[in-house]
Symmetry: C2
Subunit: 179 residues, 2 copies
DNA sequence: CACCGCATGTAACGTGTTACATGATTCA
DNA sequence: TGAATCATGTAACACGTTACATGCGGTG
């Protein structure tokens, strides 16, 4: 869903072709989230199938990568885009956190040391946080910085949650491990 | 990946059949993340194909849902599970946040009011936070509470990020909207 | 009898990933 | 000449969702 509407939004600014869309997407998000070019094309095919964009082939014999297919929004696509902007993003059930599952399962399995799992994750997350801080320093525009900030905020939330887990699990009596 | 290893971990406690696994998974995560039963079976098929579990059919003529297929970990599956617990979860590029993309795209599109997008999302997220707080009060065990806490922490991070965005975007000069 | 719970699956589809394949041009 | 960039795609696969289908047994 994110790519679909991301591409739609970019096309709302300017008609573009697939290859340009990848560049534009990565530039808009400050290269924090690389975008696979194959997915751009398949997503564009679906968008065209659904009537949200149309494409025209432009074969002017100038430069490399000649046969370009330029995509533009349809009226229906514009409406859909506006609806997307107007509606809030819902946290999906599909966004089950692998970390949360890991910690919960670790705390329920006697043979696994939940404390070690939490400590290992915190170490990794703190390293990631340092890398993010460095990346943010070299972000060259506001949007790029905002994307990195979002990842930072969630990494911090993750670390706080790990601390929280460790505190609560340490306080738990030994017998509860099985049930 | 989360379901795959979630099921593997549950099988690490006890051999079980598919239907039981769903119940056990939802119970372990406090019903915060409902699990589709169809996915359980397809995931089990893949796990068996990959040699991480084996299954035996048990057709004792007792009760409803007779022909049960009980899954248990193989040695290979146990090793894989231990590896999973020992290695930290990495934040994937695939976890592009739809919200972040929406806000960034809104701030880059002149015809969209980024402020309105942010405000709408914050209102929705705060409502969700209230619902989560209520849900947490009725969580009946520690693991269930931890799962909800994780969602709460991330919802709070999201709201903080929205505030952060609004502050930075308000400060930005008008001309930057196009480039 | 009709519905619910137990138990197993399949099919179709959307989204995302990696990898492969094609062709032209530009630059070292 | 060979590698990088521009430009387009396809194929295979993993994971997730919804919906459909089957069959038994107990309960209202």
């Amino acid at each position: 869903m994110s790519i679909r509407y991301g591409l739609l939004a970019l096309l709302g600014r300017d008609p573009m072709y697939g290859y340009q869309l990848r560049t534009a997407f990565e530039s808009a998000t400050g290269a924090t989230w690389p975008l696979n070019i194959g997915q751009v094309y398949t997503t564009l095919q679906r968008l065209e199938r659904d009537g949200l964009v149309t494409s025209t082939v432009e074969t002017d014999g100038s430069g490399p990568g000649d046969d370009r297919r330029r995509y533009r929004l349809t009226d229906s696509g514009e409406k859909d885009l506006d609806r997307w902007f107007a509606s809030p993003v819902v946290r999906q059930a599909s966004s089950r956190s692998e970390l949360v599952i890991k910690v919960v399962m670790a705390s329920a399995l006697p043979r696994v040391d939940a404390r070690a799992v939490i400590d290992a994750q915190r170490a990794a997350s703190m390293l990631e946080l340092q890398a993010l801080t460095r990346a943010k320093a070299s972000a060259d525009d506001l949007e790029a910085a905002l994307v990195i900030d979002s990842v930072i905020f969630h990494a911090e939330a993750e670390i706080r949650w790990l601390d929280h887990c460790e505190a609560l699990l340490a306080r738990r009596p030994r017998e509860e491990h099985h049930e």
